[in-house]
Symmetry: C2
Subunit: 498 residues, 2 copies
């Protein structure tokens, strides 16, 4: 189409509807059952190979619709099937069908979330779901916003922390002030470190608080770190506690951390991006006891719940602070002489200007599943993880990273080394651990090349710094014993003879 | 659905495909022609009314699919039809059909843009389109990333500027340093002001450089501002120049600004979020002459080009700097012992962790339209704006905000006051201007309530600080004289007798 037309009203079937037919034909949103081994989760090609396979170059001539459809088919073929249960590589997985419906409607309505004027229904849906989440946390008032992912949501927390203590930084900056310090655990997500750079603190002013053997922040270590920072003449500002660490799935002990924050007047931000779904479950919300004492919370329903990427929310119990902190009063967008109640315009609370409509997806999912349906999704997910952890503790060659019995306090992560037959029953010398560290990357390569499974691995400094697998469980598709058995069998099949 | 199922593999027609049928039935992605006055661009309800009409509350019971489809129908009904040509309210409009196809495929494949491992095809498409845009700018090397909107893209520029000059800020922060100052024009987007707060500069350290009567930064004023900042003992760091200001559509004079930056060693970031599409057109790229001298550029194809929201890119001519600036070396995501070339993993260049797949939409549009098709879209858009400006200068009651003949240098914005019959031919006292300032909001209310048009308005301090209309032109749907005449007629119809 070199005629500059939009494609939308052109033919009897708009091109985007033909792509949706392709989605249907290729079953891109579905998982194959464990006994179907003929449909790979990925058809892997190296970057060099894939660059040859895809006609990537742009310029001239334009492609016609048949060629474009073929391009889409190729892109789909070489993309990862994240909706297949075999995709266990990240903290997200398959997409909820109702959430997806919300995402597609959002795409077709192509608007911004910044004013009621351009997004009336979406603004109300966002406000409703944020209020519902605040109630789940235990707050009767407050504010919130959907952000472009968890790193951004955590940044909102840090921005509010500083504004709350030092509103003048908005005007005059950090220059000449004594260093302000953020505390986060050594197992926490790297977004705090990245944010510390952008926000002008510097990474030296992020204190990495030691964790226990399960990856939970040690409150006594936090307390000691705060005292040390004070004695150095630096200013403790905020604590980032984690509910569901990225690798081990640890829940930091919020009550003890909240006590320390209260004692020193520190802002408590809770990064519950991964583990926040526990709030939906009567069985698991005890893992987040104390969250109501936080000043702000980040949660990504696009992780465990299967909301479409991206779906990340930030909430705070402080009413009005988001606007005070972030507003710039642009008169061309947030006119105060509009004919409706402009308190519904959310844009000036945001660091973004245009903002994608993410809240509606979660709102529609919540309508579709209800509180109890979402609870059941979370419970099923945790149950699969617990079954997996139990299997890992029983199977030959599988060696849990966490101490026995500690799984009960973790999120839906299962961490383990796989020990090939040739390494079993030997003295665990540094050389032995070194050889073990090579196993996970080799098994990973084998599973990706065969397309039978995708599981993440990584080292952790306080876990021998030796690569281990991290199996993460998410709600879509629902995972049962058959799927878990498949995963462990597959790792065994690929790794046994290494 | 309270059973926790995902919806995807449930029935013969997954729910999200039923929603796509609804999109088709309601023709949500299409524009009605000017002679169809029966399909409003918005069916406006106040926040209070809409809260009554939509069953917003969440909890129990879950809704069945029939109810959910009805919800989607209601949300669509009360949403703005941004694909209708009557939506001229923001710097975006209708969505390109091929871009939309890319967005929908992206949603169904539900993955992150952070590693080749989870997004192999998307990673290559993003890299290709970024390199193509760099070539358009005139750079043979460099780097780039798609970001969550223009405000974020501008933040990337500011982050690189600081890191380039003071890499140690990444480690030790801004504390104890002398104030660093950013320069941007008084007509520039507020994102620099918001970023200055988050990045720790403070808004006092953003110098607002005066503009000329067309809204262009005055180079001599910039020069004087830099000297003044130096004399105050503050450190000039970076200049944010704008190609296509938000309200007037001004292009700052890049060659003169680049000279000043060169003289003082300042980073030059170009915010071309709105006006960057001119690069695609042989007829209009002269407006951006000098852009090749910038250190970094932000451009939002989701604005003029009609790429689906969000589609914003950041490019820099400095190879390697994005990674050095933003990396945090998270070992669980960016393992260096992978079996493929990890230089294709983009995630550690980003301030986000998960990042939405936005580049593919633009890549697919480019495949569909080719360079020449995109050029034609841009030319059609500018032509419509020029025709509108000409009409505004001729029609009774329409009064251009810009001086005669100045439109040739602007982006696709047309700014004007509409003067009702009762205000014409009178002495222009402060009281007269005050009465005029009430016209735009009243006309706006009338057009929104009748659903016949949506056009933005705002005051500007250096334009009498009196509300005027800003008609913006975008590529989808293509706009011709009939559409422009409709818009001006409608404003006249609603405003004449005020």
């Amino acid at each position: 189409m070199a005629d500059g037309s939009s494609g939308a009203p052109a033919g009897p079937t708009p091109f985007f509807q033909r792509v949706m037919a392709l989605v249907d034909e290729l079953r891109l949103t579905e998982s194959a059952p464990p006994d179907r081994r003929d449909r790979p989760v990925i058809e892997f090609r190296s970057p060099e190979e894939l660059s040859q396979l895809l006609p990537l170059a742009l310029g001239e001539p334009a492609s016609d619709e048949a060629e474009l459809l073929q391009l889409c088919r190729q892109v789909a073929r070489y993309s990862v099937r994240t909706s297949d249960f075999r995709f266990r590589n990240q903290l997200y997985g398959g997409v909820d069908g109702y959430g997806l419906a919300g995402a597609l409607l959002t795409e077709c309505l192509n608007t911004n979330q910044h004013t009621f004027e351009v997004a009336p229904a979406f603004i109300l849906c966002e406000a409703t779901v944020l209020a519902h989440v605040r109630r789940l946390i235990g707050w009767s008032s407050g504010d919130g916003i959907f952000a472009a992912g968890g790193s951004m949501s955590n940044q909102y927390g840090l921005a509010l922390a500083r504004y709350h203590r030092h509103p003048q930084v908005k005007t005059s900056g950090l220059f000449g002030l004594r260093p302000m310090v953020l505390f986060t655990s050594e197992d926490a997500h790297y977004s705090v470190l990245k944010a510390a750079h952008w926000h002008g603190y510097g990474q030296e002013n992020v204190v990495s608080v030691p964790t226990d053997e399960c990856g939970r922040m040690r409150p006594e270590a936090l307390s000691a770190a705060v005292e040390r920072v004070l004695s150095e003449g630096r200013e403790p500002l905020a604590v980032n506690a984690t509910c569901g660490t990225t690798v081990l799935g640890a829940y930091d002990p919020l009550p003890a951390i909240a006590d320390i924050c209260q004692q020193h007047g520190l802002w408590l931000h809770v990064d519950a991006c991964w583990g926040g779904a526990a709030l939906l479950s009567r069985q698991w919300r005890h893992l987040m006891a104390g969250v109501e004492r936080a000043d702000s919370v980040a949660w990504n329903p696009h992780k465990m719940l299967g909301a479409p990427l991206q779906c990340s929310l930030f909430v705070t119990r402080h009413d009005g602070l988001l606007h005070q902190c972030n507003s710039a009063q642009a008169t061309y967008l947030f006119q105060q002489d509009k004919f409706y109640d402009v308190s519904h315009d959310t844009g000036d609370k945001s660091i973004q200007c245009g903002r994608k409509v993410d809240g509606f997806k979660l709102w529609l999912m919540w309508k579709a599943h209800g509180d109890s349906g979402l609870e059941s999704m979370v419970d099923t997910t945790f149950a699969a993880a617990r079954y997996c952890a139990d299997q890992v503790s029983r199977r030959d060659g599988f060696r849990p990273v966490l101490p026995p019995g500690s799984d009960a306090g973790q999120c839906a992560n299962v961490s383990f080394w796989y020990v090939p037959a040739a390494l079993r029953g030997q003295e665990e010398t540094p050389e032995w651990w070194h050889r073990l560290s090579l196993v996970a990357p080799r098994v990973k390569e084998a599973m990706v090349r065969s397309g039978t499974l995708m599981v993440g691995y990584q080292p952790l400094p306080h876990k021998q710094a030796v690569n281990f697998f991290r199996l993460v469980f998410t709600a879509v598709p629902p995972l049962g014993r058959a799927e878990v058995d498949y995963m462990l069998d597959e790792i065994e099949r690929l790794g046994r003879d290494l």
